[in-house]
């Protein structure tokens, strides 16, 4: 039967294949949708026998990868966002097995598309291997003794995932009205058409009828519908913020620094104690002194546990290479931090080590400044005490420049600057 949506009745499937029946029903189903033209339909096909039908459709067609047709169709449906356009994914039980995640995602989000799984209980094109939907006892060329466990119930899985309209039918006779209904669902609709592959299914399971196989395997024919329709997913366009660059305030040069060359700082402490933020604020303070600055972070993949280390370069000249071969100052506020920088400290031949008073000093050839960073303002402010002390001792830039930056942050409202000045003397 040729028609408006299928250009020919000579479909490329084996004689007796259920794909022929489903395709002819789909033609009839689409013709029954009022006002629907072929260019309103986007058919997305998977790999496998069903994937060779594109040429016969007069609609838009997209033929992708094995198991991925539902995700590809979902992308198209979300991009179009047009209820007049019908996106239909055609795949087999093999493709559904490979791409189960994509079906779950489309069902859960209620993405407006129709998925038709042609479940002939095996991978037909590659020689009849069992799929996730193959029922117990069903025999295939690579498992002639029959599959030992039952297939999963895709309809119930997807309904549980949130699919509002799910139906399973036997690919026999005229079921076009059910497909018409599926295509007209506003959100996600799913149809599983149970078939028998004439090449491998019939050959390895002789004298078994499709309805008997389904009944014996407990494959339930029926509809699963959500009583209250859910709103179909739409990828909304948002008016986001303006320029990302302008979100980050520009820093005016309002302080000055005696620095003529480069000053490099390694700040090491514990994750969750503001090391990375403090390092950025120090760098921003340098910029407010008319200097250039970079900051690099190093930390384990865990969040809030272990060390956190930052490398800050402050320079009169623009900075290319952002690594620090030998720092001018190493500031350590916790044992986590000390563990990370011990090797650096032991190799230092210049600069100074600023160490929290609670820590045992490592072997070092450079001057050691021990100070209670953690006590006066707590562990989370230890980095600020350490940086302020370093600025006061070196004079590399005024600590007021650093305080000024801190006051612009939310942290600035909580920090006791009077005490910070006092304890960092």
């Amino acid at each position: 039967m040729s028609g408006r949506f299928l250009s020919t009745e000579n479909l490329p499937f084996c004689k007796g294949c259920g794909h022929n029946i489903v395709s002819q029903n789909l033609e009839k189903a689409l013709s029954a949708v009022p006002g629907l033209s072929p260019l309103d339909v986007i058919v997305v096909t998977d790999i496998g026998c069903i994937g060779i039908i594109d040429k016969q459709f007069t609609t838009h067609t997209v033929h992708g990868l094995h198991g991925r047709s539902v995700a590809l169709a979902a992308g198209i449906a979300m991009a179009l966002g047009n209820p007049k356009k019908k996106v239909i994914a055609l795949l087999g039980d093999g493709g559904a097995t490979i791409g189960l995640q994509h079906l779950m995602e489309a069902a859960q989000r209620n993405i407006p598309l129709t998925v038709i799984v042609h479940n002939n209980m095996l991978y037909g094109m590659t020689g009849g291997q069992p799929s996730g939907l193959t029922p117990r006892g069903f025999k295939t060329p690579i498992m002639p003794e029959g599959k030992p466990q039952n297939g999963y119930d895709l309809c119930k899985v997807l309904h549980a995932a949130g699919a509002p309209a799910v139906r399973r039918l036997l690919a026999l006779g005229d079921f076009s009205a059910e497909l018409t209904a599926a295509v007209q669902v506003e959100g996600f609709s799913f149809v599983e058409a149970v078939e028998l592959c004439p090449s491998y299914g019939v050959k390895f399971n002789p004298n078994r009828k499709i309805d008997d196989i389904a009944r014996e395997a407990g494959i339930e024919i029926g509809w699963w519908e959500t009583p209250v329709p859910r709103t179909p997913f739409r990828a909304e366009r948002h008016e986001r913020c303006g320029s990302l660059l302008e979100r980050e305030p520009s820093i005016a040069a309002q302080y000055s620094s005696p620095l003529t060359g480069r000053y490099t700082v390694v700040l090491a402490g514990s994750a969750g104690e503001g090391v990375q933020s403090a390092a950025e604020y120090l760098a921003q303070a340098a910029i407010s002194c008319g200097l250039h600055a970079t900051k690099k972070g190093s930390y384990p993949v865990t969040v809030g546990v272990g060390f956190s280390m930052a490398e800050i370069i402050i320079s009169r000249e623009p900075i290319n290479f952002t690594g620090i071969s030998e720092p001018d100052a190493v500031l350590v506020t916790s044992s986590d931090g000390l563990g990370k920088v011990r090797g650096i400290v032991e190799k230092m031949s210049k600069g100074a080590l600023y160490l929290d008073a609670s820590l045992d000093a490592p072997a070092t050839k450079v001057p050691l400044v021990k100070h209670d960073f953690r006590g006066p303002l707590g562990g989370r402010s230890a980095v600020y005490v350490a940086i302020t002390l370093m600025l006061n001792r070196t004079g590399v830039m005024p600590s007021e420049a650093f305080f000024d930056i801190l006051q612009q942050k939310s942290l600035g409202k909580k920090l006791d600057f009077g005490k910070l000045r006092q304890v960092a003397e």
């Binding site: 992308g75 979300m78 970079t294 952002t322 690594g323 071969s325």
Partner: protein, 367 residues
Amino acid sequence: MNERRFIDNSRLIIEALAQAGADIFIGYPITPSNLLYLYASQRLPMVLPAPDEITTLQWMAGFSAAGKLPVTATSYPGLALMVESIGMATMMELPMVIVLAQRLGPATGTATGGATGDLLLLNGINSGGYPLPTLCISSPRDAWELSAKALHIADRLRTPVILLASKETVMTVQDVDTAALPPIERVTRRFYTGSGPYLPYAPEADGVPPLLPVGNDRYQVRLTASTHDQKGNLQHSTPEALANSRRLAEKVERNVADYTFYEWDEEEADALIVAYDVTAAAARDAAALLRAEGRRVSLFIPKTLFPVPPKYLDIVNRYQKVVIAEENLQGQYREILFGKAGRPGVRGVNAIGRLITPEEIAAEVRS
């Protein structure tokens, strides 16, 4: 009047992509590209969190087929899962930009460690050797300009484009004079405007077939990942279909002069330093060190890494001594430029798990 901001390149990349006309960011979490995802959520008109990397590329392909310009960001573990779908997008000729922030491998390696170890994979990302335009950033200015260029190339050549970076080049924060950044040109889409019938794979003079989105009301569109003729119908290996496949490589290669980006500072010198990505910064300092010693040295920073522009071979072959510095064990771009056999006078400076220093590069040039 300058405007100095303390920002990372991730911010510049997303802002540039937004201004160039990226429609949507489809993301999933992976270090070190998380900042790109975060900024995209604050800036792009649409952002979709995908459940995994394969879905990401498939959704992007769907959006691209429907006429949108999608973007994502990943690192090697994610790229590995995307590869089959990138091949699909290459074959369907779907414009998109994939930002690849490299990290230390192999496998999951060190998520928060830098590296430039994915070049050999990128060089052969498509079965059969069909190259993808791959631009590599090595400075904030690159992050700004090349990101926008990547989107333009994707549209113009109707192809996925890789924007290559690494942990340091997307996460290190630096001061940038944002007032000095040039304006970004917005992409004007190259859509089919003819009077039909539409042949989705019939090329124009530059080898590129203009795209017509699926779902349009004018003409039928057929897209396929399988070997196909100009109509988009599956073919086994007909001359027309094979010519179409050959065209996929040709359109990228023959137009490379239009997107060949590099820095090359001195023609006359005794030695050439080659570096890209994060190591380019070390190479700049190394060149300055050597010049301060009175040595004649030239610096070459390739930014269009793939396909290798013919101009690069002309440049590197002018020098007896070529030192190529890169954060991988083998010297991946060295191998791509000179092959396994190498060439006398060509040397590598290589490291993993740390930055290569200017001193190391300078020492190799002196030796």
